[in-house]
């Protein structure tokens, strides 16, 4: 029950993208289609779960003064592992997400959760927190990717909904990312206040 609460907290009340506004670069840069958003979300979630687990396991052995560099090394190691795995098994994904895979290291969500949660709680709780935030991040990216893909090209996950000629190309390009995210956050604000 307690674990469910931690997981739920990462998905809705403490959603990394819509509520905490963390990890904006990856959110904007990789959501040109729903599938790209989903993949980026899953990659980040995988690193987040692993790094949260390891950080909470080593927290008693790491001196307080060097904890941030230690956390960064843990995160960077998992990102490197992920980078090599994606390179080996999904070269296509590597080409679309490009530079944003190594940049998972500087995604504020990872260091933020390590510092705010995993450094203070047990391993199982931290794994749950990683899972919750990871799922929340993945859902947010998939939602933004879906909106942009639908408005931009008239399809969803590559399945055509309406003819592409009616799509607004702008939403696939850079400005559309900012505008779509701005409106989504405004809608979330409205729902939360109500």
């Amino acid at each position: 029950m307690k674990y469910w609460k931690i997981i739920y907290n990462g998905i809705v009340p403490g959603n990394p993208v819509f509520v905490l506004l963390l990890g904006m670069c990856a959110t904007l840069g990789t959501t040109s289609t729903a599938l790209n958003g989903l993949m980026m979300g899953l990659a980040t979630a995988a690193v987040l779960i692993c790094s949260n687990g390891v950080v909470s396991a080593i927290k008693d052995f790491v001196p307080d003064k060097v904890r941030i560099p230690a956390y960064i090394v843990v995160i960077a190691s998992f990102v490197t592992v992920l980078q090599l795995l994606i390179n080996a098994y999904m070269p296509g994904l590597n080409a679309t997400l490009g530079i944003f895979i190594p940049l998972i290291v500087v995604n504020c969500i990872l260091l933020g959760r390590a510092e705010a949660f995993a450094g203070k709680h047990g391993v199982v709780e931290s794994l749950c927190d990683g899972l919750g935030c990871g799922v929340g991040f993945t859902l947010a990216l998939t939602l933004l990717g879906s909106v942009r893909e639908l408005l931009g090209t008239g399809s969803l996950f590559g399945i055509s909904i309406y003819p592409e000629d009616y799509g607004m190309l702008l939403f696939v390009l850079a400005p559309g990312a900012f505008i779509a995210l701005g409106y989504l956050i405004a809608i979330v604000n409205k729902i939360r206040k109500a």
Partner: protein
Amino acid sequence: MLTYISIIITAIFINNIVLSQFLGVCPFLGVSKKISSALGMGAAVTFVITLATVVAWLLQYYVLNPLGLQFLQTIVFILVIAFLVQMLEIVLKKIAPPLYQALGVFLPLITTNCAVLGVAILVIQKGFDLMEAVTYGFSTSLGFTLALWIFAGIREHLDMTESPKAMRGTPLALICAGLLAMAFMGFSGIKIG
């Protein structure tokens, strides 16, 4: 010469780091409420990116490549950047206290600015030589400063406008950033060389 001009114009206007490559969006949204702090952040970022690019380039070509350790790139680069920022903070505190006063608050934030790590990795991916890498790093950070400066100017005016409650703050800022990005798309027609 034309190569360098092309790199500079491309990095500042055509492929602006924030508005078309989405790197460094966090400080772009976080430190853009006042023009003065935006310029301070821009200066600090310019300093760190240029320095980090040189160090990262030298490490890649003189240490990682000869030893066959390319897979350590991400870990090494992020540690180098964190180390550089720390050193810079200590050195500035001793040598130039006024400059430290101006940039001090922004320095710790720069470690997790993805533009710094992004530029270091991009420079290696694009296969630039050292001079091109320095030019690219410097002009990219100028592009960052320019975007941040314009955006801070817009946001200072936004604060005074009447807007729906749900739109206030980040949502409105993001939409304005979108409009700014649209303006910068106008540069994409430029071709050099």
